[in-house]
Symmetry: C2
Subunit: 262 residues, 2 copies
């Protein structure tokens, strides 16, 4: 069975039953996947405010009611305690568990945030003939800590993390146009060209993910990355914090194109 | 002195000194003006979530830290207790005061929300040769309650309020394009044409503001309106709620064009 052809509901059912515990890239093609951050309600206002002030790294797709595991706007039939293939559980900033089901951790004082992920704009780049190197090379996107400070909110603050894609110089403008249509999934790049200008010393040594090949005439283009809010939240050392495991995303019922602003 | 030529800082200083207590339409031309809603912190998460879920009627421009009257992102030198020409103060949903200074009401458990207002996109319409009837007729924009439900968040729920502008049929598409560029100030229309389709019985009897003239060949076009969040918040009957008086807006340091997404 080709997972790319399954509907979001079918994929989530396989995941809920424990029949799918791997990464979700390419599954339920055409539907938006999301980053997950679960926090105690006493941090919810400040975290939502942090996202509102930093929409490029933290584009909010949905937030549950306090205590509800149902993302009613983007997947009303889903359950965020069981429908992500792999979770990471942190207590006071320390990883304490990696699991496929968080029902035992759930309580009615938790709030779940779903944030846009780069899969959506990468598909838009591919649809426009713009190459995406880490997909070609079948590895993780390279990610880097920058010297760009996020706008703080309450206890949340820290540097922006970016992902990088080498783009042929003749396609850089098109890459800006194509991704600008999708602010809900990181949107336009935050920087084009010189890595040093945003505090990155060596593109061959990413802070997260894998290095990728540059071809002659290609320019590094940097997008705000969904690792940012997780890193920032971790820094606060919440009593309990639960996220998806990298690459193991939540699949929504919303088609990628529905998030385009024009 | 022509107020349209003053800078935002100059206008705010006149307002702070009590030298300007009137409406702000046209003042500090080219700079974005904002709706103000001040609420107790215990409602802040739910109200921010309501705005996040209803970005067309409730486009968030800035939110202060709890207890701070400074909108640090859009006007870091301003003070929201003195820099709006006229405020309305509500206790448990009842209007108890209309005043030019709210320092005596301020406390460190309040949070101020600045939301985009239609002045910005109206200027964009005028710049594109699209007429704005209530400006031509020097009256308030007509506003109507609709049967479109906002997406609830916690205690906040209610119908969307819309503003209406008659647009010549040949310019309706352009009006959609022009306002789509500005999601931070209500953005694209929510409805074009038949008022009954969104629960409006009689265009000549607006729920707020004044009726305006239709010319032959004009189509009613409806935009989400900033009255919505005030009406919704009022319904919750907060212990204390402070807003700007209608038309007496907060003037930010941000140029209208900076809020365009493309």
């Amino acid at each position: 069975m080709d997972a790319s052809r399954l509907t979001p509901a079918q994929m989530r059912e396989k995941i809920r039953r424990g029949e799918w515990t791997g990464p979700t890239a390419g599954a339920a093609a055409g539907y938006t996947q999301a980053n997950l951050v679960i926090l105690p309600k006493e941090l919810a206002f400040e975290f939502l405010l942090f996202c509102q002030r930093n929409p490029k790294p933290c584009p909010v797709l949905d937030v549950t009611e306090v205590g509800s595991p149902v993302p009613a706007r983007v997947a009303p039939d889903a359950d965020l305690r069981t429908d992500v293939p792999k979770y990471r559980v942190y207590r006071s900033g320390e990883l304490v568990d990696e699991t496929t089901d968080i029902q035992s951790y759930w309580s009615d004082h938790l709030v779940a945030f779903l944030l846009g992920c780069s899969f959506t704009f990468e598909q838009a780049l591919l649809d426009n003939g713009v190459p995406v190197r880490h997909i070609e090379e079948n590895c993780n996107v390279p990610m880097y800590r920058t010297n760009i400070d996020c706008t703080p909110a309450g206890r949340f603050s820290g540097p922006m993390v970016v992902s990088m894609r080498p783009i042929p110089h003749a396609q850089v403008v098109r890459a800006v146009q194509v991704t600008s249509r999708f602010p809900a999934v990181h949107g336009a790049p935050v920087h084009i060209g010189d890595p040093a200008a945003i505090g990155i010393e060596d593109l061959s040594k990413p802070d997260f993910g894998d290095p990728v090949t540059f071809h002659p005439g290609e320019v590094p283009v940097f997008w705000a990355c969904g690792v940012t809010p997780q890193a920032v939240a971790m820094h606060v050392k919440p009593e309990l914090m639960i996220t998806h495991a990298p690459g193991h995303m939540f699949i929504t019922d919303v088609r990628d194109e529905q998030f385009a602003v024009l």
